[in-house]
Amino acid sequence: MIDFTEEQIERYSRHIILPEVGAEGQSKLLESKVFMIGAGGLGSPVAYYLAAAGVGTIGIADADVVDSSNLQRQIIHNQDRIGMPKVESARETMQALNPDVKVNTYNYFITEDNVREIIRDYDLIIDGCDNFPTRFLVNDACYFEKKPLISGAMFRFEGQVATFKPHQEKGAPCYRCLYPEPPPAGLVPSCSEAGILGALAGAVGTIQAVEAIKELLGIGESLAGRLMVFDALRMEWKKLKLHKDPACPLCGENPTITDLVTYEQACELKFGQ
């Protein structure tokens, strides 16, 4: 266990006082390494809360720069950061909140050529990206590298959160057990043009952050094997069962995917239009 400074004991006192966390748990958080894909709507609350919680090393990947249209929901950035790489802006905000946190920035796209090597250094992966090809890539890479993945997605007024750790728990599904492959181009909305209620990103992202902290600490009931579905218009969360699919092309009995694959970006709105 690490030796806390006086300042750290005070900073983390509300965690340390929780029997489920304690000094040992806080120490574990400070020694944890989390990698996040996306410094946008979901990445903002996730990064903010993980930094506040004292997760010691946070890697964050995003190839984009801050744009004024982001600020309706991406609360880790601000007006003065417009034009700045999002990962740099996120690092400034996180370190201003908590100088204990080391932030590694990856100001480029996650691809099949770099993803496995990057995530190898981390304990837990959080996906808050904005497209299907990356979601499948990250899922597959996490499976091959045996990393737990907390996946969050949203659309207009709806959100989904799930934890995937097929390598850790017998019967635990991966993302491909839920959706074996990306929808064909034009059948499912996947772009920001569809619109998004800004505060929804906070609701979904903070659930991801809570689950991440639970996974790092090993407390409570894991979300693995469940899909949380949030409907903001009805203000309703549903918890649906996810099963490991014996026919899953990645983690099933006879896998057909044995290496990373890259899908083309599908970016149309036909599914609901």
Binding site: G41, G43, C129, E158, L178, P182, I196, D231, L240, K241
Partner: protein
């Protein structure tokens, strides 16, 4: 028998904005056919040309995925709730 079917945001245009519709049917297949009759266009979004539920759309009865029950043949009982859960990818 009528069951309540939850419509996800991307498909609400087809139900006139309704987030929940009451549909007659004794199994999931009948529900899909009757959904189409009441709200034309829905079946195409849910099923492929062979009538199978698309792989990026999950249909749940209560909290259970029908793929792990009896698929379209999953029998419904009074008070069951059917939910349509499409894949979404936004994080931005």
């Amino acid at each position: 028998m009528s069951v309540s079917v939850r419509i996800p945001t991307p498909l609400r245009k087809l139900t006139g904005g309704a987030d929940e519709v009451a549909i007659e049917g004794t199994n999931v297949g009948e529900i899909i056919e009757n959904l189409e009759a009441a709200h034309p266009g829905l079946k195409e979004r849910l099923c492929d040309d062979d009538g199978e539920i698309r792989r990026f759309v999950n249909v749940y009865v209560n909290d259970e995925d029908v793929r792990f029950l009896e698929g379209r043949g999953t029998v419904l009982k009074d008070g069951d709730e059917v939910s349509i859960v499409p894949a979404i990818a936004g994080g931005c």
